[in-house]
Symmetry: C2
Subunit: 261 residues, 2 copies
């Protein structure tokens, strides 16, 4: 893309918190001078949707005017649906870059698998569109995005100045601290962590049980090359992500074992 | 588990086609002599839900009597929710093995990412429960599961006779041909393939547009060590899967590049 300096890159922006979330507005503002930005995002919160796609129902899509001078569409679909609709029905081409977020809340470690933000970015990567998901470690609707905007701009402008692999996929998390406390950017691996589930069991007004998911985050991975470590030490974490889920080590072991012969 | 021969292993079964689908009934029947089977599955089809979890709404769960002599629960949640509910509210322990399927339709190659069947299995693997997703390459509700049942039994009994890694996760696909035409089991990697999307654009009775996802499967990966190749050549494909999505090659490249310094 560095070779094509005359034409502004087309940057598709989506998220999973919904098109009216402050995080996506901050993402648009952080990068709109860097390219021709088009927003296609869900019309409602879609957190925890993972890589869900809508296959049994139709989707709606409407143009909205909520970002100053930026083309924007809201859809009734999941974050992954938004990427598919953007390519096929809005842009009628692949964008040069896809950005997802800025998510309200962490998407480090195992969260990459549950996250609608990262699943949208992964969908773009599968479609040969370089892609980045951004998350700020603050669930608050009134979170301060100042530091996040600075690092989003730095990372996106650095990447636009280079030649990106078509499947490039990054999971970027930003600590919820003032910019002057952030020590820099660390390239990391995904920590092994999980949620210990505990469903809250309640009764409805008719006396029937229902269950509400709660969970405690537990990090089993104490190494210093993980995203969880980087964030705890006030670094922006960048985890390169892939969509080939093959476990090659286990593949070799199973081949040797002749278990299924 | 081979050491613990007296006690039957607890086998959790779930799926994404819903608890009344023929595929899950065939899975239960294929393995019920191998352990103490408990079913916790969605009360409706949940195909394409990926790794979605229900976080903004409560869940319902009811005991049902539809599998001969087998404890079974239907839930209003996604396949991943079912695994979480099973561990926390039904079994009150981790099962020894989790099986998901038998899915009506292929989950080879990139489908592992969209599949509710495989996401349920992956959730179990994250929770340190060895897990296998099974899919038959036949969408038909009246599909013939004879060959699938044979290979499910063979794979599950082989694994129960060995010591399984707690994160063991396998994606098993079975060709839709009579058993005598199946040449055996191949340990494979996930093929690089994708769907070329094409939304069907329609108008509702009020003249407003809606969009329906369609798509053509395209395999870009012509190598002979992939699941797509194995299935096309009448082998059962077994892809070992992992939930660490870190792209270690790109991680090294980015570290060397000093792009973000």
């Amino acid at each position: 893309m560095a070779a094509n300096k005359k034409k502004k890159p087309v940057i598709l922006i989506t998220n999973d918190d919904g098109i009216t979330a402050p995080g996506i507005k901050n993402l648009v503002e952080a990068v709109k001078e860097l390219g021709q930005v088009v927003v296609v995002a869900p019309d409602k919160p879609q957190s925890g949707m993972g890589h869900a796609v809508t296959i049994g129902q139709p989707l709606r899509m409407n143009k909205v005017d909520i970002f100053d001078g930026v083309e924007a569409w809201q859809t009734s679909g999941t974050p992954v649906d938004c990427v598919k609709l953007a390519v096929d029905k809005v842009l009628h081409r692949k964008p040069d870059l896809c950005l997802s977020g800025i998510n309200h809340g962490a998407n480090h470690s195992i969260n990459v698998i549950y996250s609608g933000t990262m699943s949208a970015a992964m969908e773009a990567s599968i479609e040969s569109i370089p892609s980045i998901g951004f998350s700020l470690l603050d669930f608050n609707i009134e979170a301060d995005f100042t530091a996040a905007r600075f690092f989003v701009h730095q990372i996106v402008s650095s990447l636009l100045a280079t030649t990106m692999d078509k499947h490039l996929l990054l999971n970027v998390n930003i600590p919820a601290v003032p910019k002057q406390l952030i020590k820099g950017i660390k390239i990391c691996r995904q920590a092994y962590a999980k949620y210990e589930e505990d469903f809250d069991e309640r009764k409805d007004p008719n006396g029937k049980k229902y269950y509400w998911l709660t969970g405690k985050f537990i990090n089993f991975d104490k190494a210093k090359d993980t995203d969880v470590w980087a964030l705890a030490n006030n670094y922006v974490s960048v985890v390169p992500v892939q969509f080939d889920l093959t476990n090659y080590t286990l593949k070799q072991q199973l081949k040797k074992s002749k278990l299924f012969r």
